[in-house]
């Protein structure tokens, strides 16, 4: 397989996953903004959401007020925002076009029709319930692509690069969501959170589509410690950090089997794994949640660099 | 006359991850020269591909991975030259001469240079006339210029004169080609050189060196021929060298 093909498959999956995450973040930001507004319509939730996506500075250069209309336009349609849904879908489709021959027709068709549908949407008509509908649609685009991939893609090296891209992006995203609100998760003396805390916790869980499944796992009210544990260390939670790195490890092992040798990606992933396996929330809180997440994001990025190096991305 | 050449080129590179060169620095045995020994040294040369190019030259395709910031090429060889009054004749790998009527951007004809020359009265005489005019023109220019400009002009003089000669010959419908090589001048100074060759049905290819106003002598060593200087560059490379390579050339008798 061409190094460029591997690279395109890797990024294609990352962009689709990113589009999904951006849609989810925006949906949460929108919900929250309905209940707690600041003066002038700006919402601090929307601002922290922009910060989590690392596009807050770009946003401020273009818009004065972080209200729903501005933020949703920016996060959905802005061509200059590399993390907007539009940019993600276009980048995914461009990558897909480059590796058209490496994809199954089901995968290609899901991306192609997603882009064609998205391109026909009039940004001015996406307010209120239409906005929520559109954001759900973005998630189904991701699900459709992933479904096509899982049910039609040959389990070879191309599959492996797609999966690694997908889960590197997901881990990055979950870590950023946690980091966005890490301060509300810190252990405090008042054991019962107030309404403000509950709202913030819900936001975090919703952003990871975890607010309902949380109950199944913990059978308990929302607690900061549990929430952090859930998104970092619970192996059954499909958006947790440990779940993502587990998937990355298994996929790297698959590559090892195909290519007959370990690459630098294994070592980089092992470092991330070491941060999670056998670790506990007590130790993570003692270490410092923010520092832990910052280190995680950086080490997770190194996986990308390492596999780019060992499998000739360029 | 037996001549021994040592030529080094040092090409600056912007440290690319990969460099590829087309090398035209090989002297071949012809009626005017017998090559006793010839070698090129440069990184990657041992693995180079060699072939005849479209103009009959022996070319090398050389490549390096992570070549660093300079590329050094050393050419050395010994050649027995024979003065045949500039007549090269016909070489085995020569393409049909008609091809060398094709004008190129570097060989645009200068109308004044062929004004009044009629090749029907004798091609070879016409070619000598062009060579003479070029030589005189250059001598006149020499006198009228200050020392500083002179030096600058003489740097590209062989190439410019060869191009002018070829352009004029082609304008008269005579096939003509650009030739690179080495020159050991009367004072013992060695240089990389260029001249023209024009085709005559009877004698074949004949060299004309307008800089010296002679047909190539036993002081000329012939390397490669082509349509113009661009096509016969001794080392053409990608990425293109950012500066002119530094060169040293030494030619000794024997």
């Amino acid at each position: 397989m061409l190094g460029r093909t591997a690279q395109n498959l890797f990024w294609l999956s990352r962009y689709i996953e990113r589009a999904e995450n951006m849609a989810r973040l925006l949906e949460v930001g929108y919900r929250m903004s309905l209940t707690s507004q600041r003066e002038g319509g700006a919402s601090e939730h929307l601002v922290s959401m922009l910060r989590a996506a690392e596009v807050d500075e770009d946003f401020e250069r273009k818009h004065e007020v972080a209200d729903v209309a501005n933020v949703s336009q920016f996060m959905l349609f802005d061509e200059t925002n590399p993390s907007s849904v539009r940019s993600c879908l276009l980048a995914a489709r461009t990558n897909a076009r480059s590796v058209r021959t490496a994809l199954t027709s089901d995968m290609w068709e899901s991306l192609n029709s997603a882009w064609l549908e998205f391109a026909s949407i009039d940004p001015r008509e996406t307010t209120g319930s239409r906005l929520v509908e559109l954001l759900r649609w973005v998630r189904t685009v991701s699900h459709r692509y992933r479904g096509a991939l899982l049910s039609t893609f040959l389990r070879d090296d191309g599959y492996a690069f797609s999966q690694i891209g997908n889960f590197v992006e997901r881990a990055d995203n979950t870590a950023r969501i946690l980091d966005m609100k890490y301060y509300v998760l810190l252990p405090r003396t008042d054991l019962i959170g107030g309404d403000v805390d509950i709202q913030q916790w819900t936001l975090i869980l919703r952003a990871a589509s975890a607010h309902r499944s949380y109950r199944h796992v913990y059978h308990d009210r929302f607690k900061a410690w549990n929430i952090a544990d859930y998104l970092i260390l619970r192996p059954e939670m499909p958006r947790s950090l440990i779940f993502s790195i587990g998937w990355i490890n298994r996929t790297l092992d698959m590559l090892e089997e195909i290519y007959g040798g370990k690459g630098a990606g294994h070592a980089a992933a092992a470092e991330v794994t070491a941060m999670l396996e056998g670790n506990s929330m007590d130790r993570i809180f003692a270490y410092g949640l923010h520092d832990f997440l910052t280190e995680f994001i950086s080490k997770n990025n190194q996986i990308t660099e390492a596999i780019a190096e060992s499998y000739n991305f360029y | 006359m037996k001549l021994t050449v040592t030529h080094t080129l040092t090409c600056p590179l912007a440290s690319p991850s990969r460099a590829v060169e087309h090398v035209l620095l090989t002297a071949l045995s012809t009626p005017q020269q017998r090559v006793e020994r010839w070698s090129i040294e440069m990184p990657g040369f041992a693995d180079a591909a060699t072939f005849r190019d479209g103009f009959g030259n022996k070319a090398y395709l050389v490549s390096q991975t992570k070549p660093g910031d300079t590329l050094r090429v050393t050419v050395s060889g010994t050649v027995e030259t024979i003065d045949r009054a500039g007549v090269l004749g016909r070489l085995e790998y020569d393409p049909p001469p008609a091809m060398f009527r094709r004008p190129t951007r570097q060989t645009k004809p200068d109308a004044a240079l062929i004004d009044g020359i009629d090749p029907s009265g004798g091609r070879i005489a016409a070619l000598h006339e062009i060579m003479g005019r070029l030589h005189e023109g250059r001598a006149a220019m020499h006198q009228s210029q200050s020392a500083g400009v002179q030096e600058q002009a003489s740097g590209s003089a062989p190439a410019d004169l060869a191009h002018a000669f070829i352009g004029a010959a082609r304008a008269l419908d005579i096939p003509a080609r650009y030739v690179t090589g080495y020159l050991l001048d009367e004072d013992g100074a060695a240089s990389f050189h260029a001249w023209g060759e024009a085709f005559d049905e009877g004698l074949g290819w004949i060299g004309f060196d307008a800089l010296l106003n002679v047909c190539p002598t036993e002081r000329h060593i012939r390397l490669a021929a082509g349509l113009d200087a661009i096509g016969t560059m001794p080392v053409r490379m990608v990425p293109a060298s950012t500066e002119v390579p530094a060169e040293t050339i030494e030619i000794v008798e024997g």
Partner: protein
């Protein structure tokens, strides 16, 4: 002006239906009034989902157009096809022989049968190709011959595309779409298959691998990238024949050989079906600022370590000015009369012919010698006085830059348009593969001018395509 007088492929002047179209006519009669409209809409959906589009130059990224597909097939009988394919094969043999000669001893020039300057001073002539011996002596392996028909027995060659003819993916996808849309139609008649093309392309490419390549040579399709208008076709063909689709950056030259960069390191490439123009193929030999090509590729080719398909410099044989000499070329190399006619062509550098052209420009077609895609072209009868005047001046200024031909009454074929079924002008581009043998895919790409009366079939000028059937005996 053509119109009622043009030969219709389906219906004779007396209203009777020509033999090859009988089954189709019956089938059309049986369709409910709405059926064809629904079918046309389905067809568009099929093409759009598959991503069969062409990029339009100068438009925003991500905007691509579909080439309209017409649901009514164009049909050629077995006898007609046998005749045509003989003529095509003859042309292709002669033009490859011509290319070999031009790049070796140039006997045809020495014999004075084709003017020396027309070839040697032509920008499409590639001096770097002199003396090179390509595998099996073949220069143009993949050829598209543009034909038009003016009567039951009269076909003319408009041009020979010997560089990188495009459109073959449309031929294949048109058939796929047609099979999906009207399976019952195929059950009633025997249509020669076209889906053998990718396998035959693969065999052709393998048969011209350089000496020393392994038994199963590695093939690559070299594309300028996703923004090229024919990118879909490049990826389609690579996929269909199991070759790697490469951009210039995926390939590199080392120790005189060509490799592709793979996830497990370099892999040697033996045959490159390149869809990049000569000038951009290799910055070491051609345009130094090309970012699309592979440095050293041409030298590796010269050294015999890789095969380029088609060879550089094949454009000299399909140059519009050389076109007029093709009958001469066929006679010179094969000792035969040309089976397919050239369109009579006026040479504007000859004073008497130029005078005729300037006077009758309103009846003629003017083409730029190096133009393509229907640009830089005048169709006299459908143009305005201003346009006539413009081209008169252009011809006076640069007579050698134009060739001029009479306006041919291109045949028409029934086509589904807004107003129902109506005749529209068509041409035909059969595809030829030259390797260990000459393989001509039965049929080819029929292009149709969708505008009423229009004679310009190019997709860039609003043309569409049709599935093309060659009936089997």
């Amino acid at each position: 002006m053509p119109g009622p007088s043009a030969f219709d492929e389906m219906t004779n002047a007396d209203g009777s239906v020509r033999e090859p179209y009988r089954v189709l006519e019956q089938w059309l009669k049986e369709q409910k009034p709405q059926a064809l409209g629904l079918m046309a809409a389905d067809a568009e959906g099929i093409f759009r989902r598959l991503g069969i589009t062409f990029a339009v130059y100068g438009s925003n990224e991500g905007t691509e157009k579909l080439i309209p597909f017409d649901i009514i097939p164009r049909i050629i009988s077995a006898i007609e096809w046998r005749k045509l394919s003989k003529g095509i094969e003859q042309r292709v043999r002669a033009l490859n022989a011509f290319l070999h000669d031009i790049y070796h001893r140039q006997e045809i020039l020495k014999a004075g049968r084709v003017p020396e300057k027309l070839i040697l001073n032509n920008s499409a002539f590639c001096p770097e190709m002199m003396g090179l011996d390509p595998a099996r002596g073949i220069y143009s392996h993949i050829i598209g011959v543009d034909l038009v028909r003016v009567s039951p027995d009269e076909w003319y060659v408009l041009e020979d595309n010997l560089r990188t003819p495009s459109g073959v993916s449309y031929m294949l996808e048109d058939r796929e779409a047609m099979l999906q849309l009207a399976p019952d139609l195929f059950q009633r008649t025997k249509v020669a298959p076209v889906e053998t093309y990718p396998e035959n392309l693969r065999r052709t490419l393998e048969s011209v691998a350089p000496r020393g390549a392994s038994g199963s040579p590695t093939l690559a399709v070299l594309t300028p990238g996703i923004y090229n208008s024919a990118y879909f076709e490049h990826s389609f063909l690579a996929d269909q024949m199991g070759a790697e689709l490469c951009e210039g950056q995926d390939l590199f030259v080392e120790n005189g050989k060509v490799y592709m960069r793979t996830t497990t390191g370099p892999r040697r490439v033996d045959v490159i079906y390149r869809r990049i123009d000569d000038d951009y193929l290799d910055p070491l030999t051609f345009k130094p600022d090309s970012m699309l090509g592979v440095p050293g590729l041409f030298d590796a080719y010269r050294a015999g370590n890789v095969t380029l398909v088609n060879a550089p410099g094949t454009g000299i044989a399909d140059d519009k000015a050389v076109y007029t000499y093709v009958p001469e070329i066929i006679e010179f190399y094969l000792g035969e009369k040309a089976l397919l006619s050239n369109v009579p062509t006026y040479n504007c550098t000859k004073p008497d012919e130029r005078a005729y052209v300037l006077e009758h420009i309103a009846e003629l077609v003017v083409k730029e010698v190096h133009g393509s895609g229907g640009y830089g072209m005048l169709v006299g009868p459908t143009s305005t006085r201003e346009q006539h005047e413009l081209f008169r001046n252009k011809i006076i200024e640069r007579p050698d830059n134009y060739i001029v031909q009479p306006t041919l009454a291109l045949s028409t074929c029934p086509t589904y348009v807004d107003a129902g079924i109506a005749p529209r002008h068509v041409d035909l581009r059969p595809y030829v593969l030259v390797g260990d043998q000459i393989r001509i895919t039965p049929g080819g790409l029929t292009r149709v001018a969708l505008k009423e009366g229009s004679l310009v079939v190019n997709s860039s000028q609003g043309g569409g395509t049709k599935d093309t059937w060659v009936l089997e005996d």
